[in-house]
């Protein structure tokens, strides 16, 4: 059973690996390095730290988008070319497809974060480079699983990418939205509508990843306990990723395929 899953993983992974991925990554790294050098030239002090933090954040968001697109495209092609119908005629359980896709996401994120680890280590030091690579891997993996859920449910690339990005940005801007809602309650002198909206958003926050699920960019400016930060991020991402995978399985098992 495991060998079938591994075979399926290999097959799916081959679909992801392409020259296009390599070219896209190279362009992103090049743009990040050039933009980072420009920022370094402008800074009067702390140029190195600002440059490293800028390059790290630039790569974080561009690789997040790239990973999301790659995963969404891969699953969308399976829908388009009726791959699921073919797979289900074989002695394969549906969970094996989800397991194989999870392995693909993990490997894709590893591929994307390896050059980042080298680059950040060169800019900063090995410890910070390693922290950023692992933290970024966890962040990309979480986003990848979210993308997998979105594409399995919505079946179309644009909708899936927009949905995943919306959840990702909602999680990132949650403190800003909370602040705006709190101010809105104050300005409306505690009106019922504002309070209800604030309550609903508070409830939504329970089902989106918290700020601890993401890599901390402040590590480039001060010393922190990196292992403690990674530990906290690992626990947050593990719980949320497992929750998402369960939803993926429920959704995938409910789907009807015309065999």
């Amino acid at each position: 059973m495991h060998s079938q899953t591994i075979s399926l993983f290999r097959f799916l992974m081959l679909g992801i690996l392409s020259k296009r991925l390599l070219v896209m990554m190279s362009i992103m790294v090049l743009v990040a390095v050039l933009a980072g050098s420009f920022v370094d030239e402008l800074a009067i002090i702390n140029g190195d730290a600002i440059q490293t933090a800028f390059v790290a954040d630039f790569l974080r968001y561009s690789l997040a988008l790239l990973a999301l697109l790659m995963i969404a495209t891969s699953v969308a092609e399976d829908y388009e070319f009726r791959q699921f119908e073919r797979l289900l005629t074989m002695p394969l359980a549906r969970w094996q497809y989800i397991a194989a896709q999870t392995l693909v996401i993990a490997c894709l994120c590893l591929l994307l974060t390896l050059p980042v680890a080298v680059l950040i280590s060169l800019y900063s030091n090995a410890a910070v480079g390693l922290y950023w690579a692992v933290a970024l891997w966890l962040e990309l993996f979480l986003l990848g699983i979210l993308g997998l859920l979105a594409i399995l449910s919505l079946e179309k690339i644009p909708q899936a990418v927009i949905f995943s990005l919306a959840i990702y940005l909602l999680a990132k801007f949650s403190s800003l939205i909370s602040l705006m809602l709190t101010e809105s309650v104050k300005l409306s002198e505690g009106s019922v509508t504002s309070r209800v909206i604030e309550f609903i958003f508070g409830a939504i926050l329970y089902v989106i990843p918290g700020s601890r699920a993401f890599a901390e960019n402040d590590v480039f400016f001060a010393s922190y306990d990196l292992s403690a930060m990674l530990g906290s991020q690992f626990i947050t991402v593990s719980i949320y990723a497992l929750f998402l995978l369960t939803v993926c399985l429920i959704d995938f098992y409910r789907k009807e395929f015309n065999l």
Partner: protein
């Protein structure tokens, strides 16, 4: 499959003419707009609140603080032209500096901009605003900002000609407990102020002391100080030659 296209000349003449006229109008309008922007100084907009910027930072508050500081530093360069600092509204400038300090409190960039860049204004009221800003930041974090307060006291003596204010700031540095780590010359800074040194001699003395005491660890700042040191040495030489003639 690619759909075939008809040659452009077969299209209705009024459509082609309309396209050419509108295209030319767009080019002219854009060019006129650019010339207008280049000629006029764009004022500094008031910043939004610090919590709002923190929310927008998506977890990278320190980086956003630095990027905002760099953006502010570049404000006097617009459309390839350098505008005088006197054109900047210093009330808004101080708001920006306060905001940057609030977003990234562990960064000394805002106080550096205040003491070394915007202090070049010739307006004493504006300079007083900057000195008050540096003093506020020093009160919050003396360890991070003692060098800026030392520079501010030099500005008070030589630019404002207010020795009392300069000594008041130097006293503030001297009164710091031993837990605030700084070289001894910084605690004795009032003696440097009382010495009969001119502006360039004082600046050279403080930069040399800073470089010697290894209080400056950042290579960019070290380079900046070394450039400033050679400029001040040249200025001092020119000043001495002028006075001897």
């Amino acid at each position: 499959m690619r759909r075939g296209e008809r040659p452009l000349l077969l299209l209705p003449r009024p459509l082609l003419l309309g396209f050419l006229v509108l295209f030319a109008s767009q080019l002219l309008y854009h060019h006129a707009g650019r010339a207008q922007v280049a000629a006029n100084y764009q004022t500094l907009d008031k910043p939004l609140s610090a919590p709002l910027y923190r929310g927008l930072a998506m977890g990278s508050e320190q980086l956003l603080g630095y990027l905002l500081a760099i953006q502010l530093q570049l404000h006097d360069n617009q459309a390839g032209r350098h505008f005088r600092y006197s054109m900047i509204d210093y009330d808004v400038l101080i708001d920006w500096l306060e905001l940057i300090s609030a977003i990234s409190p562990q960064s000394g960039y805002a106080t550096l901009l205040a003491s070394r860049i915007y202090s070049q204004t010739g307006d004493p009221d504006r300079l007083r605003q900057l000195l008050a800003f540096i003093e506020r930041r020093f009160d919050e974090n003396p360890q991070l900002h003692w060098r800026r307060l030392a520079e501010a006291s030099l500005l008070a003596k030589h630019k404002l000609h207010d020795l009392e204010r300069a000594l008041q700031m130097a006293e503030k540095i001297a009164r710091q407990p031993e837990s605030v780590q700084m070289p001894q010359w910084a605690r004795d800074f009032r003696f440097l102020l009382l010495a009969e040194l001119n502006e360039f001699e004082s600046a050279i003395a403080i930069i040399q002391a800073l470089l010697r005491s290894k209080a400056v660890a950042d290579p960019d700042e070290k380079r900046f100080l070394e450039e400033k040191l050679s400029t001040f040495q040249q200025n001092l030489l020119d000043f001495q030659q002028t006075t001897s003639n």
